[in-house]
Symmetry: C2
Subunit: 297 residues, 2 copies
């Protein structure tokens, strides 16, 4: 077990409250005042989650987007955010991007903290997003039923492509899928009453589907060729697209008769009874890493 | 204006929602489901907020305590916390301290995120704490009335003394005031219905009192000699104790007839009409830094 896996197991023991959902969901769901509050906190670190030299406005935008994506995956309507910010060389650009994202998704800044880091340290920033559940029960990763269809709301691989272009300094290709992912808030709300399980694809379809399968006590059988690829991504990169995250599409399961409202929503598999592997890809256990292993609690 | 002051001014423009309280309180107060939710987020950075080499269990304990202190200052009852954690060399000790603090203050972990930082970087950790208001209106920094008494709940300077002992490697002196501050949750709840304004003393009495005075549109006249000093602190360090933070006592104002329940609660001044300075110390504007300027929003 990695250090990080051991840590998360230890943290889980501190989280017996039902609102924590065993630290195995996109967000916590806390009953409060007769409603359900949906809560998430994601951090980003320079050189790990963003490229040194990236526009701080894009970093701010993405920090907001990835947290709101967790709310989207629970069908929640955002109420506000709290920011944990480490001062940097261009705070004004960070605020500009934060302002854009908050305006675009109509979410107020409610509070937070700013700190300094020692010179030369990679900077860390965090955001807590709060939302109001719009549908009860609030979708979890744990509700997939044998026989359900498995769906994604749109193409994968766009963030990977954008990252590679930015990293390599290429030009002429749109990198916004990596820099400015869009949380699917309206789609999440519309889907929430219709799904049996839902989460966002943040760490790679194969990894996230395996998490959903484990949480639901089922197996998810994916049809790799059915997964829609981002425009411009060659067929040879299909497997990479299935194991790269950061696209923030929604992954959900729904009863067999489910028919999507959105043309981009695509069926990519079927829920089957639990087997020796949480995920099958085209009938076999996937080979290699399933995705980006990080520590969302 | 410092970069940080400029940043906070810019962030304030993104926080027009009344729940944000103009980013000028210990916590946000959000009406939700007919109740009031109290929300705070504080970060700590290695080498800035804790000494490299300090026991990670103490760091975890303090991270919980300083956030719960913000809830205490609003009279709120803690509901849970979300953790933003950067992996380090001794995660098990961090979890041990986190576990102690959460058990002691009876607060569940609800979620969060763990990340890695590049080797050699100072680590940053953040915590979001949520509470339920126990009294309406929830005390703010902005309610002090001319003629009110100004009070602190106990002695100052203990954290400063503990920090110096730890920094200098001395022994035989209790450093727990710095390592393991105690959020005054029960006192905050008891005081909330009785105060006109309340906050915690996190950054130095003079600085925090000046913030309260500015938020209330008044002047606070402090009697320096009335401020209780931590045991072991020599009289010559009195001024240092007034400008050092980290003690997490509560600072509050109350009507002239207020009589405290707790023997340690001490009257240290009077609220006066707004003047040329937000705070007077023994009748004059204080000389030098008022406290530790950092960026709690």
């Amino acid at each position: 077990m990695s250090n990080e896996a051991a840590l998360i197991a230890a943290l889980r023991a501190l989280a017996p409250h039902p609102a924590a959902r065993g630290l195995a969901d996109d967000a916590a769901v806390l009953e409060f005042g007769g409603e359900a509050l949906v809560l998430t906190h994601d951090m980003m670190v320079e050189g790990v989650h963003w490229l040194p030299g990236q526009d701080p406005a894009d970093v701010a935008y993405k920090l907001v987007a990835v947290n709101l994506s967790d709310l989207a995956a629970k069908g929640a309507e955002p109420l506000g955010v709290l920011l944990g910010y480490t001062l940097g060389p261009d705070d004004a650009r960070f605020v500009a991007g934060l302002s854009e994202a908050l305006a675009e998704f109509d979410v107020p800044l409610l509070g937070g903290d700013t700190v300094s880091a020692p010179v030369g340290s990679a900077r860390a920033i965090g955001l807590t997003a709060l939302g109001r559940a719009t549908c009860q029960p609030v979708p979890s990763r744990g509700g997939a039923q044998v026989g359900d269809g498995v769906w994604v709301t749109g193409p994968l691989g766009g963030a990977m492509l954008g990252f590679e272009v930015l990293r390599d300094g290429a030009s002429g290709i749109d990198t916004s899928a990596f820099r400015r992912p869009r949380p699917l808030l309206a789609q999440g709300r519309a889907l929430a009453p219709l799904v049996s399980a839902m989460m966002d694809v943040s760490d790679g379809l194969l990894l996230d589907a395996s998490r959903m399968a484990l949480a639901s006590g089922v197996m998810i059988a994916l049809d790799g060729s059915a997964v829609p690829l981002a425009p411009g991504l060659p067929e040879a990169r299909r497997h990479d697209a299935l194991t790269w995250g950061d696209d923030y599409q929604l992954l959900f399961t729904a009863a067999p008769h489910f028919a999507p409202d959105h043309p981009a929503t695509t069926r990519v598999g079927t829920v089957a009874a639990r087997g020796p592997h949480p995920v099958l890809l085209d009938g076999s256990a996937p080979v290699g890493a399933l995705g980006f292993q990080h520590g969302a609690l």
